[in-house]
Structures are given as C-alpha cells and as structure tokens.
Point group: none
Chain length 421, copies 2
C-alpha cells in the first residue's frame, strides 16, 4: 500500500509554522507497520491544492490530507477536493448534525460561518471529529484510491486518524508487512567511524541501517521487515553493542542527560558541579530529569574570578598565574566544589565559549574539564569547534559523558564485587 501525506496551509510555506502533523502521522502509521513514501505541503491557493491532489491520487493508494477545513475563507480543501475529482460540493447532513452537536456540547451558539464546514464533495463519508467543529471526510477515487481529509489541529487530527484511518488500513491492506525499527545514540565517535565499525560487525543483511548526525551525536537506526524482523533487529543490536561498546549512549529516545542522571541515581553517586563557560547548562540538563535532587547537591556557576576564589577556594596564584582557563584551575574548581558540597564527585569546566576572549594559545573553544572522586582525578583539555552555543553544548555533552562512564565503571565494579563475594 503506497501512502502519501498532503499538508495544506500558507503557514507551512512561509516559515511561520513547522509541519509537525506530518511527523506525528508518520509515527502513528509506523507503529502499525505502514510507511509513508512521500509528504507534500502546498499553500492555500485552490489551484495548487487541486494539482497536488490529482497527482498524488494518480501515484498513491492512500493519501492523508491535513488542513484547510476551518470555517474561514482561506480554508479551501473541501472545495479543492471536489474540483480535483469532478464532484459537486454539497451540504452534507451528517456533517451538519455533527457540527451542531459539537456546539451543543460546548454550550455555545453556532456561528453561521461554521455551516460552511458541512460543505463536502458529493459521495464523501464523514469522519467524526469529537474535539472540534471541522468534520473530516473520506473519498474513494476510481477503483481503490482512498483520500482521508482531516483538520490541521493536531489534537483533533491524531485521534481522528486513529479512529478512522488505522482500522480502515488494517481492513483494506490484507498483508501489512511487519516491521521492526529501533534506534540508538552514539557519542564520541565520528559518523564514518561508526559506519566502518558496523560494516565490520556482520549485522544481518536484512537489517537496513540509517545514520543521522545530531551534533555531537550520531543516531543509528536499525530496521527490518518481515515475520522475523524482531529477531533480526535483536541480533543486529547485539552486534552493534559489541562493535560500539560504551560509545552507545542509549537505545530509543533517552537523552544523554537522562541516561547519565539515571545511572548516577542508581549508583547513588552524589555530585556537585562548578561551571564556568557552560554557565549552568550542565546543571540545567541534569535537573531537567525528575529525581535529580537525589544526586545533585549543588552547582556553582562561577563566572567571575571572585566566585571561584570565594566558593571553590581556587588559589589567587592560579588565577593570576596560569589563569582561570587552565588545567590547574579546573582541578582546583573540581576539588573545591567537591569539598564544599561533601559529595562523591566534583566536576568542573572552565573555558572560552566565545565569540571573544580567545588568544593564540587558548583559542575560542578551548575548555578544561576536571573530575575528582576522592580516589580518582581526571582532567583534559578540549578544543571544541563551532560557535558559542555549540562550544557550550559540546562541553556539556562531554561532561555528561564523563559522568556516565564513571557511573558505568562503578556499576561494573559493584556487580563484580557482588559476584566475587
């Protein structure tokens, strides 16, 4: 079954609105094993809608159309559908009843303009909308091309899709191909390296691989079709794990911050942060996670040197000597915050996010990161590329990854000691 989506509205083509409907529809369909082959957006001009509808009806079996069913003049989808397929536009009694019911439920008088929403192409089936005034409709063109029309409001459209389209697809598509999709996130390896490693990892041939870069991450998607898709993807996942190891941050939608916070909580690793160039971004990402208060004791955003001395006890000699952006300062900050907070881990970053402040020896993007735990000390100099925002994000991700790996180590050693006991 070849499926396409058509989204209608000037706002989708003038930069005012991101088309999230298409993604939401595609996701819902994918859950049931249906794939979208093409998605199109056109504006409000009726001739543009007519041309798009005609072409898609020629090329696809099912077309899901959103938008342009409202009561105002710039909503022309029903009219365009009638014209595209040579049907009359008629007042549909079922639709009118539904619109009236909606206003009764809301206890509001119906505006005369809303009657326009009951004007549908002849021989359409009305699709009930329990959340808004615009009824949807279905048209069957020729032998077996089905067009579903929905309002553009996501909270109305998605339940209608679930209620009307998914059952129809299941009935009319005798043999939807089972499909298994999974994705995971890799950090710390460039995309070509990820691909090279997976190439050598002997993943089952039937599993399709796709890559997407969302800096500083590489997203890898595994996909298989057919009755044993699940097993194949399981196998592929196992081999990918072996090939990439700890560089895999998470499976599914979990973010690096979520994984890290979860692992810190599980291992009861208390944490204090001292942030200079990231200005609170690391703390912010960790505290985005529910339950973060169990492990984050405090964080110091020490932009000024006085704060570094005052709260973290960074010696004046360091600040006046090698300066605040230095290995020495990062270590002193990490030790200082750990001591002040009395936590297991102290982590500190200091660097130059730009756009100004760089020098030949320490250009913009230079960041020193230090992590101390009482038994261990780690410190590193990074040279991140990109603008201020990117340097800050890369620094934050590197910090979260250090914490993640520390928690994984802890987990491994705890498990080991449990096993040997």
């Amino acid at each position: 079954m070849r499926i396409a989506i058509l989204a209608i509205g000037d706002e989708l083509l003038n930069g005012d609105q991101v088309d999230t409907n298409t993604t939401a529809i595609a996701r819902l369909l994918a859950q049931d094993g249906y794939r979208v082959r093409e998605s199109v957006a056109v504006g409000d001009p009726i001739e543009d809608i007519v041309v798009a509808l005609q072409r898609l009806a020629r090329e696809y079996d099912v077309i899901l159309v959103t938008g342009g069913l409202g009561p105002t003049e710039d909503d022309r989808t029903a009219q365009a559908a009638a014209r595209a397929f040579g049907r009359l536009l008629c007042l549909n009694d079922d639709a009118l009843v539904q619109i009236r019911e909606r206003f009764t439920v809301w206890g509001r008088p119906m505006h005369p303009r809303n009657e326009k929403q009951a004007l549908l192409p002849a021989r359409s089936s009305v699709l009930a909308n329990r959340r808004g005034t615009a009824p949807g409709f279905r048209m069957i063109i020729g032998e077996d091309t089905a067009l579903f029309f929905f309002p553009g409001v996501p909270s109305e459209m998605l339940p209608m899709l679930e209620e009307h389209t998914l059952p129809w697809l299941q009935q009319n598509d005798q043999d939807p191909t089972p499909e298994t999709r999974r994705r995971f996130t890799v950090y710390g390896l460039p995309e070509p390296e990820v691909e090279a490693r997976l190439d050598r990892a002997n993943l089952p041939e039937e599993v399709a691989l796709a890559y997407a870069v969302e800096l500083p991450f590489v997203q890898v998607k595994l996909q298989a079709m057919g009755s044993n898709a699940d097993r194949l993807v399981d196998q592929a996942e196992l081999r990918a794990r072996q090939a990439l190891g700890d560089a895999i941050v998470s499976f599914g939608d979990e973010t690096l911050a979520a994984v890290t916070t979860r692992l810190l909580i599980t291992n009861e690793l208390s944490l204090a942060l001292a942030e200079s160039c990231t200005g609170g971004m690391i703390a912010q990402q960790i505290t985005d996670q529910p339950g973060a208060s169990a492990i984050l004791e405090r964080s110091a955003v020490t932009y000024a040197n006085s704060a570094k001395q005052d709260w973290l006890g960074v010696p004046a000699e360091i600040l006046e000597g090698v300066g605040a952006v230095s290995e020495e300062c990062a270590i002193a900050m990490a030790e200082g915050i750990r001591a002040a907070a009395g936590t297991r881990i102290g982590l500190a970053v200091t660097g130059i996010a730009g756009p100004t402040g760089g020098t030949p020896e320490k250009p913009v993007g230079t960041v020193f990161m230090a992590m101390v735990t009482g038994t261990e000390q780690r410190v590193e100099r990074f040279c991140f590329s990109g603008d201020r925002q990117q340097v800050r994000i890369r620094t934050t991700c590197a910090a979260l990854d250090w914490l993640r790996r520390l928690a994984l180590q802890e987990l491994a050693s705890t498990t080991e000691s449990t096993l040997t006991r």
Copy 2:
C-alpha cells in the same frame, strides 16, 4: 519565480524527525520576498529521489534540496541527482579540496569515506560549506531551472543558503513582489487579550495580523504587500507598541534572554542568581548570550538545603520552619546571593517543579521568586501549570522578565535624570 523545496531522508517520513529545515528555508526566503509554492519530502530510496527531482524540475524554476549529502551509504542525493538528469557522477576537485581543508582546520585526519562527499554530478558548481564536510552544489537544468543541494544539518545549511542562494535569486529574479513581514513577542498577556488590544488599536487595514502561541509567549506577525508595505508595517508596529507597551518583549527574533541580558549590560546592572527548582536554567539562558560575563557575577544552584545555608546563609529556622519553598526562603536566598557576590541585583527562585514533591498547600508548580537590589525588594508566589519542564521554563521566563522590567525602569530613570540635569 516558482520555488519548491525537497527534503530527503527516511527520518522525515517515519516519524523520527520533524522537518524544521523546510520552515527555516521558507522563513529566510520570505524575508527577502520570495515565496515557496510546494515542499516535498521523500525517503532515502534512490528511485524516489530521482522521481521527485525530475517532477520538481519540470514544474518549478528553483528547487532547494536538503539532506542526503553525508559520507554514509544511505546518503544518495548526489547519485540521484546525476541519474535524474542523465549526468555522470564525478570526483569534483573543488569539493575534495574543500573537504580536506575542513579537516585541516579541525586538525583531524580525514576519513577515507569522506571522499565520497566530493562525488558530484558533472557540470555542478560547488557551494562552499564552512561548517561541515559536505559541500553543497548547484545544477542548472535546461534553460533556466536551478537546483541547489545542501546538507541536512541546519547549522551548515542555513548559512550556505544565505551565502549562495539568496544572492543568486536576487541576480536572477528581476522583480520580486515587495513584501514586509515583521514579528514581535509578547509576554505576560493571554492571546485573546493581545488580540483584543490590537483590534482596538486601529492598525492599518492593509496589514495582515497573525498570532502564534509559543508558551509562555504570544508571537504576533504583521505583514503587508506592495510598494508601501514598509510604511504600513511601520505604522502598525507603532500602534501595537502603544497598545501593548512593556508586554512587548522584542521585535524580530531576539529572545527574552537576549533582550534581558542586553538591557542588563547596557545599564551595567550586575547580577547574581540563586536557583533551586530551575536548576541552572536562568543562568544558562543568560550565559548563552555573548558578553554575559560583564553582568553575571555568579549563580548558585542550591538544590540541597546544606547549599542554601552554606552559600546563601539561609537561616536553619526558615528551612526547618516554613521550609525551602517559601517566601521567606526566596528572600533570604536573594539577599544571601547578593551579599556573597556583591552585585547590584540578587535574584532567587525556589519551588516545586514536579512531578513529585507537591503538597495540598504547595502543589507542583508552586514557585517563590524574590529579587533584591539594595533599595528594592520584590517577592511573589506563582502557581505555574504544566509538567516539570514547563514549570521550569515558565519560572525562567518570569525571572528574565523581572530583570528586563527592572532594567527598563533603570533606563527610564537614568534618561530622566539626564534630561532634568
């Protein structure tokens, strides 16, 4: 000039990723008076890309293509473009030089796979990419159909579009319709109130108004066409300013955080923050702005009570009595951070972001905010709706807005005292 956009990638059609590129391109074009007639997304199968390219090249004058220029096997756009228009795929020397330069700048070895990114259709012009490895390219088909190919990474694609496509459009399109669009951001008034005020404000009829809610903000768009579009929008803007006053946060793309930081810097208002429930988000947003170090002395993320006592000197009686989420604690935190940092302003927030921690008296969403300046003290209890993330964002916006209004007051009084002097 008929313009279309083609976005390429399975992730756009399986629900994994929202296509924000198309919106961003359309917005950039609209600023220069160009409108997009159609946008299309297809997946990675090469035949789908070929068919879409051929159709769009028949129907449009300019096609902007994004995605599928990466180094991995599922990046097939250049190959599809060659096939669609019967050209050979050749190693482009200019492109190769650019890719190599990129790796030299980064100080990293070039992976052999990146060479693939220099394979372009014959007779293409290379479009430099100063931010990533994938060069773009331009193809001219037949008399005057131009196709521009860009990588899908927004931070690479958008600057390339500005650098390569906009000047080309200006040279090749003699007569774009003048259009003026402007938008502004309102904070602190609900959408119907904004609309009602603007309805009464007598804006020129020729100016179209559109509203979009991006919680907690209302975006208002003004748009006019024709030769005096600029003057009309100027007039509309003036009346909107009168109708909405300080509730207008900014014109154009400037964010609340950017406006606030700019105003604090202009007025030399030094700041220290104490954040509990926002966990660093306020500091993070301020330090996102270049130059923030001029005004932000430090910020304390005091998640634990010990940190509140230790760094901010919040008395134990408050913490044990009314508790950390209280007016008293917010004031003590603001006074404490101001004293510790020696700044003009101390601002503190303490609250319950959820999902747990709420009580009947202080449900999730309860936030106390305090701001002290030495001469003034402001404190308020908020009850924000929404989930953890939304409560944190609403709190951050409220804090930034307090700082913005304080800086505006300061600006007004300085101007006044200068005038009376």
